[in-house]
Symmetry: C2
Subunit: 573 residues, 2 copies
């Protein structure tokens, strides 16, 4: 290690005539007029090497192929034809000694530049895929972003404490991964979906300020921004209110964006209640980088026959009148997919109103309230209730923004969404379930005595550019209130005792008020590195079908392993 | 959070007459001449509060019990009777406003001082056990030690990269924990015993310097210094030789002990070959804080009939002649438990030789070579081979050191043990197995062609005070050599391909020479905090019987969960 004098992005004209020792991978070799030129690559960059015919290792140099691992000694000289795209492009190293450290077969995917192999091939040869500078960049940024977050929290008096991976299954949530116990056949450990209960117990124990970069697990079907295992920045503090956590997290992102991207974020971040977010954007995680806010017609549209008994909301799209029939059909589909009943539209071009409902505006002044300018488009979504219509129009709004290219990649719009409902009604189970989780505190301790549908939570989500990047709440710290909460969720005493008895007991021994948040680290890194694929920011990701293609996992195991776990009997051989 | 002005270890005479706001737990309450005194505790320390009868919250103060959570405002005054044992012992706070944030039932274990509850009770109420200052100290030290290690490695150009928890079972090692796959019934993920293969693949991928604070898992029966899940500082680097890794790690410990304990360690650390360690100390992880080195008699003891055909080795214990018969019997047992056949002894007191073999020295000069002083004791262990006898005498050496109290708690003796055998013969499986793991490089690449028993490994362990705190090696980076290694281990081609095919292929695409080490973080923290129980340095440990007594895990799960995983069929209801 010590013998290598420089990395491959370091040498410049300042190093002229220095004797250096370098190592790395052959990224390219070409022969030119008897000289052998090699692009030598490491994780830092590229240095050009020249091996001349009088070099004692010249014959070795002629055998070099891409991805051979070599070590060289030589002298730095000025290049004749400089390469302005390389940091080391002004120099080259005339090799005096070449050592081949390892040879390489022809790799199945190309390493040195953007590769077009199928994703499955890239995942099978992930160790080669990760050799590509772009992929290395993602993981190095991951390392650095994680450490910056960690340092910030430590500077604020937080302790990093770790919690078990082998825990208990608490099915109030997503599906657990189970680990069969060898000593207690028929019993299982569960992998944590989050360290939620453990971090609350740290507060019971008086640690006051905890964080963890925590691996979490959900056995759910995968999407492009989800993995079986994911990482969250898990934070909890005692003696805090909602604003304290939000302050802490705003400070965290200001520090992170300054240090990692040299971007100065403005505080305080915007804040919308859940109701405002739904009313204005039709989403609980709106992208604020563009307008297109949702509106209610001032004059009821009940005069239009098929809208008579409908809720109708609209957005005005400036310059949207050029949308084609096909594009408008796609928007209609989008509305319907998101619980809207349909979409109507009006175009205003050269003084003329056209569109699916234009005829209803011919004999009245109702159009005036829309203050139309040339080329404006009005998109009306209708349906039977306000929340569903808003939601559908929110989806239409996002499609429109993408079509019109309103989304700027280098802009970062942070937003807090607060005052969430504590419950939502589960049609399938015919009961109220916790919108966040059953440990979230209601706004007021007596709220659970009233109409559950109206109870608001001390909960907050942090949203960046339309993605929820974190969510948290102030927790219930009162044992009686926690029991009341479980009752409101329709859990009977026995179930509560079996699953959460220890927590209810713990709360009774002097638990401080506390709350926290969990940030989705993978997603934050995605947004900061401008990739849309979560696999890019994870070293060894699983496919959508939950497989590790490189190692071939999951896989069959030896029968004896299954017998030891009581999953199979000996005679099943 | 912001409203609290001080922690409970901060206020001194410098703060006299300041208005402060504090929070914490009632550690003790006593009434004295109408005044209520409260010891207020948080994770930092204790502050004494006084509530006077004219306080509007005086009646609340009378209800305070241990572990109530309160918040107070008040003024700092000088104490009449100072408490020199407290950092805040010169002052007290005269409370103007008292708010009870939460009440507390009588806790089942005592919180404020050393508690004598059974370990099982303490683990069941771990959240209360962790409220005890001593226990909090362990975990805060853990947090700080971990971060110091991390910062050191980052300063040396290492990237922290994380590897999957859901991986593949590779039974060449300890027993794996398995996770049944929901999508592929009968297939399993495995929890990693270490990130060994992943970290080598990072080297293949060109990351050059990797580390991770990694959770690892072994489904083995527990001992007092072992847990089902444990944490290792996992390190790997490319283009390195053995010395490079040792240099790095010595630097790490020098930095760690300076920053965390203000102890200056001397470099380089001592180094012994495996053979030297066995010869001198009868252990591959000897404690160097005391002498008692193992010796061979210069004159053969074959003249003693029952030692005629035995290997005999001894230690001289200065002042050991006072050992009782009972103590000597215990040492004999120790020798026999550790593959020795027996123990003989000689005592020298007041010019007289006594002991089990003293009569054989009466008519000769053989005793001279031992250069005995008054009160010396010679302990001879015998058996049939050198390694077993050394091992047994090594165990006797440790017992003697404990008996004579030779071990100093505040001394830190680091040691490298190197030149380990690459293989060891497994009597049960009738084949050679890898002493470390099958990726360890032999000293020379042609070694595998010779006698396997004699092959040495490029492997090194780091030992502190008789504990192995880390181990590592230079790895095989040549695909052909790796195949040869698997063959030497008796694995057939098919098995190798199924389990390690991807690795052998990976090595063929230009893998740099690389090596690394894994440090046992839990054990390092144990040694640095002077506790002998590994559970002390883990937030939520499992019992010896692999249970979480607090959460009651492992536990039964809903049948539907087992059905989804294909572990039970519907009709099994």
């Amino acid at each position: 290690m010590r013998k290598y004098t420089h990395n491959n992005n370091e040498l410049t004209l300042k190093n002229l005539n220095e004797e250096v020792c370098l190592k790395g991978w052959v990224s390219k070799r070409r022969n030119l007029g008897g000289l052998v030129f090699v692009d030598l690559r490491d994780r830092f960059g590229i240095t050009q090497l020249v091996i001349k015919p009088d070099n004692p290792n010249y014959n070795d140099a002629l055998t070099l192929k891409n991805e051979y691992v070599i070590e060289v000694k030589g002298k730095v000289v000025e290049r004749e034809s400089k390469n302005k795209e390389l940091q080391t492009g002004d120099i080259e190293v005339v090799v005096s000694k070449l050592t081949i450290l390892n040879v390489a077969e022809q790799p199945p995917i190309a390493v040195s530049y953007d590769d077009n192999s199928l994703e499955d091939t890239r995942l099978k040869y992930r160790y080669l895929d990760l050799r590509r500078p772009k992929q290395q960049h993602y993981l190095m940024r991951r390392s650095s972003i994680t450490q910056t977050i960690r340092n910030y929290l430590i500077s604020k008096g937080f302790y990093e404490l770790d919690t078990p991976i082998l825990g208990k299954s608490t099915p109030e949530g997503a599906r657990d991964f189970l680990v069969p116990s060898r000593l207690y056949h028929g019993s299982y450990y569960a992998l944590p979906q989050s360290p939620q209960i453990y971090k609350q117990l740290f507060m019971v124990a008086g640690f006051e300020k905890y964080f963890q970069i925590a691996k979490c697990f959900r056995d759910e079907d995968l999407r492009s921004d989800r993995q079986l295992e994911f990482t969250q920045v898990d934070i909890e503090a005692s003696f805090v209110e909602e604003e304290d956590i939000r302050d802490l997290i705003e400070g965290l992102f200001v520090d992170l964006f300054k240090k990692e991207m040299n971007i100065t974020l403005t505080r305080p971040f915007k804040k919308l209640t859940f109701k405002e977010a739904m009313d204005l954007y039709g989403s609980d995680k709106p992208d604020l980088r563009y307008g297109l806010t949702l509106k209610d017609p001032k004059t009821s549209l009940a005069f239009i026959p098929f809208l008579e008994d409908k809720v109708v909301r609209y957005i005005k799209v400036e310059g949207g009148a050029n949308f084609t029939r096909r594009e408008l059909d796609a928007l209609t589909d989008e509305a319907k997919k998101n619980h809207g009943e349909g979409l109507a539209f009006l175009k205003y071009q050269e003084g003329k109103l056209t569109g699916s409902i234009s005829k209803f505006f011919e004999d009245n002044d109702y159009i005036k309230e829309y203050e139309l300018a040339n080329d404006d488009l009005l998109l009306f979504v209708f349906g039977k209730d306000y929340l569903n219509v808003s939601n559908a129009l929110g989806a239409v709004r996002r499609s429109v923004a993408r079509s019109l290219d309103l989304v700027k990649d280098d802009e970062y719009a942070f937003l807090w969404v607060v005052d969430f409902p504590l419950f939502e009604y589960d049609e399938e189970e015919k009961r109220f379930v916790a919108r966040h989780h059953p440990f979230t505190s209601p706004k007021h301790k007596d709220d659970l005595d009233g109409n559950l549908e109206e109870v608001l939570a001390k909960a907050y989500d942090i949203v960046l550019n339309g993605y929820e990047i974190g969510g948290g709440s102030i927790r219930i710290h009162n044992s009686t209130l926690q029991q009341k909460m479980f009752k409101a969720l329709g859990l009977d005493k026995e179930t509560v005792n079996q699953r959460f008895g220890f927590l209810i007991e713990a709360l009774s021994y002097g638990t401080p008020p506390h709350g926290g948040i969990a940030l989705g680290l993978d997603r934050i890194i995605m947004l900061m590195t401008h990739t849309a694929n979560i696999k890019d920011v994870i070293a060894f990701p699983k496919t959508q079908s939950a497989r590790d293609l490189m190692m071939n996992a999951p896989d069959k195991v030896d029968l004896v392993q299954e017998i030891e776990l009581g999953l199979k009997k000996k005679e099943e051989k």
